[in-house]
């Protein structure tokens, strides 16, 4: 038995990329109908405590799940994924793309009663988005000023043209507004309001018991008439995933966001009529698993070796047997859910072909030596995410079969970031690449050269490609949407052919929620949205 006989009993091997839509269409359950029931407490699983809860200072799902209900962004996405006004009612952009005007909603008040005005937007944009907010600093790099001719108009002035659809796609995540009158004095980072956020949203912050729970109650004078329906939301801190699944079943939790429980629990609760388990409502948070190559290792700087490695790993088998129904074959840095930018032709793909992999490695001059080993590499997996450690083990096993001995080196969060993105002390690394609705927000930075060492999730592979840099810079300032999409198509094809990073798997977060919930998962980033229309049936 030269090669281990793989067990193919249950499913035929899906050679092509499984259509994402197909796997998402699970048996329909009642999503939104019947008259809304007022009141009740909605309990949320809160997996990792953050250092702050204000989404205009820290852009991460861990903050949105709480802060997103208390503070609101200028613009959010509607059910179909198109921008819809929240704190901004209308907006228009000048033809040269250098000025974009927002007309703000009237009659909106902060939770402490003060009125919401354009001064708040000006202060948040200039002091927070531009200086502190991660990814906001790059997005608003060329923002020079925000003019406030009256209390309900904010005019954004840019030094270089800002494509409207890029800004509108970015603002749902990077456009939350904070109260100026609470932040204008003292150091923003140490402001106690960060852990007791004040916003305009449907729920008012009540209490944060470190390590235990956060509580927010219904905002009686919320600007949307007779919303929200719920009386209270409670976020319970549970770090152990199995414990969270146990408490879901014991009825102590209603909702676990962003794949908070383990893959096997997701599969199990999916078959339980008491729960709805699906990716619906997370299309705005797509991510791809990565395999990052360090060009400072001679072997990995040769594109044939990188392609051989890609061919040597049976990704469809891994997805079908390890990740279950909520992952699909990755086709490049831009995921298929990004309807605006997903190109028709993605460039070269790397199907599982062990023989070809071996041939490529021989061609590159790395023949198998003693014990069949061609060379050895150190693989650093990111410590978060069950799928990442399974994928790392699978890579170790697969590459072992074609003579590349892989040693997995474990680190905790801080250690991983420092070793990979600052010290470059890795050969292969693997983790998540988050796609945020527009390639310019947090995707092209993985390929653009000239990133300062120490900046995580950026091009630290020791790879500079002038052609790729040019495509990225042009696309970033191209105002015409059609031309911009074409540029990103060439970006996707070049990324797949040069393969500095391989993006073999595309996943969306999975939501596990009680079947009693209504009006849930009704926008692409529902987990982060305000839940003003959410209610619980009997």
């Amino acid at each position: 038995m030269t090669d281990h006989r793989l067990e193919m009993k249950r499913r035929t091997l899906l050679l092509g990329s499984a259509a994402m839509a197909a796997s998402a269409m699970l048996p329909q359950r009642s999503f939104a109908q019947g008259t809304p029931r007022r009141g009740g407490t909605f309990v949320v699983h809160y997996g990792a405590e953050q250092r702050m809860l204000n989404p205009s200072l820290q852009a991460s799902t861990g903050v949105y799940i709480v802060g997103g209900k208390i503070q609101e962004p200028l613009v959010d996405l509607d059910a179909l994924g198109n921008p819809v006004g929240v704190l901004a009612e209308r907006w228009e952009a000048a033809p040269d793309g250098k000025t974009i005007t927002f007309h703000l909603r009237r009659g909106v008040t902060w939770h402490d009663g003060k009125p919401f005005t354009s001064a708040d937007v000006q202060f948040t944009a200039m002091a927070m988005w531009k200086k502190i907010l991660n990814y906001g600093t790059t997005l608003q790099l060329f923002l020079t000023a925000v003019d406030t001719p009256d209390a309900h108009t904010a005019i954004f002035r840019y030094e270089r043209p800002m494509p409207l659809n890029l800004l509108l796609r970015a603002l749902p995540d990077l456009g939350y507004v904070s109260p100026k009158h609470l932040y204008e004095t003292g150091d923003i980072r140490q402001n106690p309001v960060n852990l007791a956020p004040v916003g305009t949203g449907p729920f008012k912050f009540v209490q944060y018991e470190r390590g235990q729970h956060i509580i927010a109650d219904r905002n009686p004078n919320y600007w949307r008439p007779d919303a929200p329906y719920l009386d209270r939301i409670v976020w319970r801190v549970i770090t152990d995933r199995s414990a969270a699944a146990a408490q879901l079943e014991a009825g102590q939790l209603h909702y676990s966001p962003f794949s908070g429980i383990t893959i096997s629990d997701i599969a199990r609760l999916g078959r339980d009529p008491r729960f709805i388990v699906s990716t619906k409502g997370n299309e705005g948070n797509a991510r791809t698993n990565t395999l990052e190559f360090n060009f400072r290792r001679k072997e990995l700087s040769d594109v044939r070796v990188r392609r051989a490695i890609a061919h040597a790993i049976n990704v469809p088998f891994f997805i079908e047997n390890f990740l279950g129904d909520f992952a699909k074959l990755g086709t490049g840095p831009i995921p298929s859910v990004s309807t605006d930018f997903y190109p028709a032709d993605n460039g070269p793909q790397y199907a599982y072909d062990k023989a070809r992999a071996a041939r490529l490695l021989d061609e590159a001059g790395y023949k198998p030596g003693a014990g069949g080993t061609r060379f050895a590499v150190r693989l650093l997996p990111a410590p978060w995410g069950e799928d990442i450690s399974l994928w790392a083990t699978f890579v170790q096993q697969a590459l072992g079969e074609i003579g590349i001995r892989v040693e997995i080196v474990r680190n905790d969060g801080g250690g991983f970031l420092k070793q990979v993105y600052a010290d470059h002390a890795f050969d292969l690394a693997t983790g998540w690449h988050q796609y945020r609705n527009d390639p310019a927000v947090s995707t092209t930075v993985w390929y653009r050269s000239g990133q300062p060492p120490g900046a995580p999730w950026t091009n630290q592979w020791g790879w500079t490609d002038p052609e790729m840099d040019r495509i990225i810079d042009d696309a970033a300032t191209e105002v015409d949407p059609v031309k911009r999409k074409a540029l990103y198509a060439r970006f996707q094809q070049r990324a797949n052919s040069e393969l500095p990073i391989w993006t073999p798997i595309e996943q969306i977060f999975v939501t596990t929620i009680t079947a009693k919930a209504r009006n849930h998962s009704n926008t692409p980033r529902w987990g982060s949205s305000t839940w003003h229309d959410l209610w619980l049936a009997e």
């Binding site: 067990e7 199995s242 383990t262 893959i263 629990d265 699978f394 096993q397 072992g400 997995i408």
Partner: protein, 276 residues
């Protein structure tokens, strides 16, 4: 050697020895029964035990044969237990002997250091050591050894304090024996038996510490240790509980065997404790 007969007269001690030999046999036969690398992909993940004839104990969530990992894991866990115990006992004996024999200022300083190690929760110190020096198998084993030396040190010091003034040591001194001959020639052979018996406790704790580290995903992933298997099985605990249960039982049996043998030795060496 009268105590050998004494040892075999107590049933728990014999059961312990049999279990220990079983685990050692598993470790020895691992290479022969499961030639392939235990961490290699063997089949579909999460196959139930006895569900597929090729995997008696099923596969874990990385598609690896659990039976292979249990057999190879026996070798790792015994190795970690043994090496860590040797490190801890060696450091313990040296510090305990010097503190116990010389007393005075030397004793106070060394005891302050031992107290420092015991006041600081040992698992916390182990965490810091593993995070700092990386979690490959050698650093983990050394860290466990370095963390568990205070207890054997205290025991050796107590033995030395009581033996130091015994008449045969004073006789040695009047004969003109130098200090190191007195320590290693005269006192140590008599101080060793209780320390050796206590080594079984240190070994049991070492194996449990490694599995706790693996549970927090801080152990060496390139090694088929039982702790890693339990850590891995934690994610599928609700349905495929056997992935964590089987290695848990393996650890339980090994630690039980080591403790029973240790207790058997202890009772055989000082029969008075058995109430005779």
């Amino acid at each position: 050697m009268g105590w050998v007969r004494g040892y075999f007269r107590s049933p728990p001690a014999v059961i312990g020895l049999v279990l220990l030999l079983l685990v050692v046999a598993m470790a020895a036969s691992a290479g022969w029964l499961f030639p392939r690398d235990p961490l290699a992909l063997a089949g579909r993940p999460l196959v139930w035990p006895l569900d597929n004839p090729r995997f008696w104990l099923g596969t874990d969530n990385s598609g690896r044969d659990i039976a292979a990992q249990i057999f190879h894991g026996a070798r790792i866990s015994l190795l970690i237990g043994l090496v860590a115990t040797v490190i801890a006992v060696l450091i313990g004996i040296v510090i305990g002997a010097v503190a116990g024999y010389y007393g005075g200022a030397v004793d106070t300083i060394l005891m302050r250091v031992t107290e420092a190690f015991q006041t600081l929760p040992n698992f916390l110190l182990l965490l810091v050591l593993v995070v700092v020096f990386g979690s490959n198998i050698t650093t983990v084993t050394i860290a466990i050894g370095v963390v568990s030396w205070p207890a054997p040190a205290r025991l050796t010091r107590a033995e030395f304090l009581s033996l130091r003034n015994r008449e045969f040591v004073q006789a040695g001194r009047t004969l003109g024996l130098p200090d190191f001959k007195l320590i290693f020639g005269e006192i140590l052979p008599n101080a060793l038996p209780p320390v050796i018996v206590y080594a079984s406790v240190v070994m049991a704790v070492a194996i449990l510490l490694e599995s706790a580290l693996a549970f927090l995903r801080l152990s060496d992933p390139n090694v088929a240790s039982w702790g890693n298997l339990i850590g891995l099985g934690r994610d599928v605990l609700r349905v495929q509980w056997y992935v964590s249960a089987i290695p848990g039982v393996a650890i339980l049996v090994t630690v039980l065997a080591v403790s029973l043998v240790g207790q058997g030795l202890n009772d055989a060496l000082n029969p008075r404790l058995k109430g005779r």
